[in-house]
């Protein structure tokens, strides 16, 4: 029986890949005041950033209820008896806890394994896609689970920020709070380490920040996949994608948009690179 993969929308997986690999994505709720949008379903990235710019209300996110997760499990269980749920880092959202508890709430009888990706954006996405590909190619659940656990420490990400204000307001700033309140205009480079936001570097200009992202990917010796994503600056992301593609001609580079659920916390002009691979 083919293993099916479920994840939340914070992995920023491009819709084509979701379609192609048969991944089920549970949308996070993005809330502007009293209006609830389902991440990527009712609200695209462009619409979200337009609203963010025009709305006086500061948006928030909320993980769907246990019931929604359980419903998603039941629906997938119609096709398979083996489900792997790979969630956003438990340090960044309640997705993992909800996914675990939802196992008890589902109606159908089905084996469901829940794994914390300890990651987010396309780093989470690359882990999910690798699992989905293995599943599509016929790997059994234990094998896919093993692969996923192997991949979790191999998924790395760096994001160039313009401002850390959104991260601070959303309470996701973690150790990057040491980068807050700088008098100088700098581009902080953050990533995920041990499941939480981590301050990696500070560059004194946008150009240098983008160079950092390139060199970050360039530093890997073995690469299974690369993701490049932007919030509001597609040209920068396209150019970076091209450079990385020339550098790694045989590697698949996924080009994605920051999802609204992530956008609430990272704000505009974020540019991210995710790599699934090894550095030594």
């Amino acid at each position: 029986m083919t293993v099916k993969i479920i994840t939340d929308s914070l992995g920023d997986i491009p819709p084509e890949a979701v379609q192609e690999l048969g991944i089920t994505v549970i949308p996070i709720n993005v809330i502007f005041g009293r209006i609830n949008y389902r991440d990527g379903v009712d609200l695209t990235t462009e619409q979200f950033y337009d609203k963010l710019a025009s709305s006086k209300i500061f948006p928030t996110t909320i993980v769907p209820s246990l019931g929604r997760y359980a419903d998603a499990y039941d629906k997938v269980a119609e096709e398979t008896g083996d489900i792997l749920v790979i969630t956003n880092s438990h340090r960044l959202s309640a997705s993992y806890e909800t996914a675990l508890l939802a196992k008890e709430r589902m109606n159908k009888k089905c084996r469901v394994e829940v794994v914390d990706s300890l990651s987010t954006i396309l780093a989470q996405g690359l882990i999910v896609m690798a699992a989905a590909r293995a599943a599509r190619d016929g790997a059994r659940l234990d094998k896919v689970l093993e692969l996923t656990r192997h991949n979790i420490p191999r998924a790395h990400t760096r994001m160039a920020f313009d401002t850390l204000e959104y991260l601070r307001r959303g309470g996701r700033i973690g150790k990057a709070r040491t980068f807050l309140g700088t008098v100088l205009k700098i581009s902080p480079i953050l990533g995920i380490r041990n499941g939480e936001v981590y301050p990696f570097a500070r560059e004194h200009s946008r150009a240098r920040a983008i160079e950092y992202l390139y060199e970050f990917a360039d530093g890997f010796t073995r690469i299974d996949g690369i993701g490049v994503e932007d919030a509001t600056t597609p040209d920068e992301a396209d150019e970076l994608t091209q450079r990385l593609q020339s550098r790694f001609p045989d590697v698949t580079i996924y080009r994605a948009k920051v999802s609204p659920g992530v956008g609430v916390h990272v704000g505009p002009r974020v540019l991210g690179v995710a790599v699934l691979g090894d550095r030594d």
Binding site: T178, F179, A201
Partner: protein, 544 residues
């Protein structure tokens, strides 16, 4: 050489101005010598600041030798900094007494003044220590007396003998003071006094060229370095700290000697100097209130400065624990100016030690900062070429692991700090910060303190001068011109970001104009204007 030549009060003042200029040239070297009573590396600076205060006051004085000498003593009393400054002010106080009612100063008057200076210096201290500036003034005065009696009492001749004796005395200080011997250095205060006397001699001999073009010699120790620098030197053992209490009492009929004796029962490191109308007090006490209460009836209190050395330390630890969770390498940065301090703090410097071009912090200041941070690993950013050496003394004085990234300018410090990686260990950080500090170009713009010729450029007093990475590259009347000239040297077409920190004496509007001009000339540059608030420099700019 005319016998019994005399100089006027105006000459005496000019002699002090020249001597101060001479000291200024080697103040940093003198700083680096300092190990007694505490290894705080600011003796040269403290003496220089004390001398500057004297000079300032001397311009208010009547033109008689006694008037100028009195003003110099008064200026030193009010402006005295540190132990060495306080003792120096005692020396000038004695000199003024020696020149009392003299319209001019002859060789014989100089002898009297020096002898009185020596006596007064010893009297000011509750516990005079040989092998210090005290020994130097005493031996110099004795030599002057002998020379005048046996060879010549010509002013220049006496001064020559004085300077020669002072030099020998300085070289000999390590044999008298073990801590100097252990460190292989001469006494810093002694060296400072010798330098002042030597500067005065150059002036008397009309050697203006020497004064302009040469630098003072640093006297070498008469005995070679035998052992390594000790873990901790002298008075550093004096813990707990209590309160470091400083103030000036102005009143009538104050008896400094009586006051000193009384205060000695109430605290440690007591220094009381001055005359019956104004007295400066320095004391380490556990109860500053009691001290204040005690001295209050004597007159009005001024320049009161009380620092709780214990509490500062504890508060600091608490604050740091909250601020820097989980960061195991701390950063100590030397920065002057509120704006720049904010820049460094906001970029993650754990503690700022105030200081810079005109105010070099001591090794002790740096050591205390290092000891205060709640990390066992510390990186020091000196941010000034005159502080690098001081910073490099710190690793041998503490059990903590220290790395000094030898940043010589503020932009280098910022670049290094930006490269700090929270994930990396001390060595890795030191390497990447060192790398980063060398990738930025630093421009510093200030105004010339006096006319001079430097790096092939003629500089008039008050003209704007620009340094690129510490080298003088531009001179012009306007500061923005100088900034532009310096910028041209960097090849700004290849740069991306220019950050302009404007100084305490520069207005934002002015800085914005300068920035706008730069943007217009180099449209591809990202130009940022930041309030630095630094003294001395109108602009500090980084080019990356």
């Amino acid at each position: 050489m005319a016998e019994a030549r005399a100089i006027s009060g105006k000459d005496l003042r000019d002699m002090f101005v020249a001597a101060t200029g001479w000291l200024e040239k080697s103040a940093a070297d003198v700083d680096a010598l300092n190990v007694f009573p505490v290894p705080d590396g600011d003796t040269g600076t403290n003496m220089l600041l004390t001398m500057r205060s004297s000079i300032e006051e001397s311009y208010q004085a009547a033109n008689s030798a006694s008037g100028v000498a009195r003003a110099i003593a008064k200026g030193a009393l009010i402006g005295a900094r540190g132990n060495s400054g306080v003792i120096l002010s005692q020396i000038w106080n004695g000199m003024a007494q020696g020149l009392d009612e003299k319209d001019t100063m002859t060789g014989a008057d100089l002898v009297t003044a020096l002898l009185k200076a020596s006596k007064t210096a010893y009297n000011g201290l509750s516990n005079p220590v040989e092998g210090t500036i005290l020994t130097v003034i005493r031996e110099a005065a004795e030599a002057a007396e002998k020379h005048a009696a046996e060879v010549s009492n010509d002013l220049i001749s006496v001064m020559e003998a004085t300077v020669d004796a002072a030099r020998e005395s300085v070289a000999n200080t390590p044999t008298l003071l073990p801590v100097l011997k252990e460190c292989g250095v001469v006494d810093a205060g002694g060296q400072g006094l010798y330098t002042i006397l030597e500067g005065a001699l150059h002036y008397l001999k009309g050697e203006t060229e020497q004064l302009e073009l040469r630098r003072p010699w640093m006297v070498a120790s008469s005995i070679p370095l035998t052992t390594k620098v000790p873990q901790m030197v002298g008075a550093m053992d004096e813990v707990p700290y209590g309160y470091c209490t400083n103030f000036v009492i102005k009143g009538a009929e104050i008896d400094p000697d009586k006051l000193r004796k009384r205060l000695e029962k109430r605290g440690e490191s007591v220094i009381v100097i001055g005359d019956d109308s104004a007295v400066r007090v320095h004391i380490h006490t556990l109860d500053p209130g009691e001290i204040m209460h005690y001295v209050n009836p004597l007159g009005t209190l001024h320049q009161i400065n009380i620092r709780n050395m214990d509490e500062q330390y504890r508060d600091f630890l608490e604050m740091q624990k909250e601020r820097m969770p989980g960061v195991d390498t701390a950063i100590v940065a030397v920065v002057a100016g509120e704006g720049l301090s904010q820049v460094f703090t906001s970029l993650g410097a754990t503690i700022i030690v105030p200081g810079g071009q005109t105010m070099n912090p001591s090794t002790k200041d740096l050591l205390q900062a290092v000891e205060a941070v709640p990390s066992e690993k510390v990186i020091i950013l000196p941010n000034n070429k005159n502080i690098v050496l001081t910073a490099e003394q710190v690793p041998s004085l503490t059990g903590k692991k220290i790395n000094v990234v030898p940043t010589k300018t503020i932009p280098q410090g910022v670049a290094a700090l930006l490269a700090f990686d929270y994930e990396a260990d001390l060595e890795t950080n030191a390497v990447s910060m060192y790398q980063a500090h060398s990738e930025v170009r630093s421009i510093e713009v200030t105004r010339a303190v006096r006319a001079t010729r430097l790096g092939g450029l003629d500089i008039k007093k008050r003209q704007a001068i620009g340094f690129l990475d510490g080298d003088l590259v531009a001179v012009a009347d306007k500061v923005d011109e100088v900034l532009n000239q310096a910028l041209e040297r960097v090849n700004p077409d290849e740069a991306e970001v220019v950050t302009i920190y404007y100084g305490a004496d520069t207005k934002l509007a002015e800085a914005e104009q300068v920035a706008a001009a730069v943007r217009e000339r180099y449209p591809q540059l990202q130009v940022e204007v930041v309030q630095g608030g630094q003294p001395h420099y109108n602009y500090i700019a980084s080019v990356e």
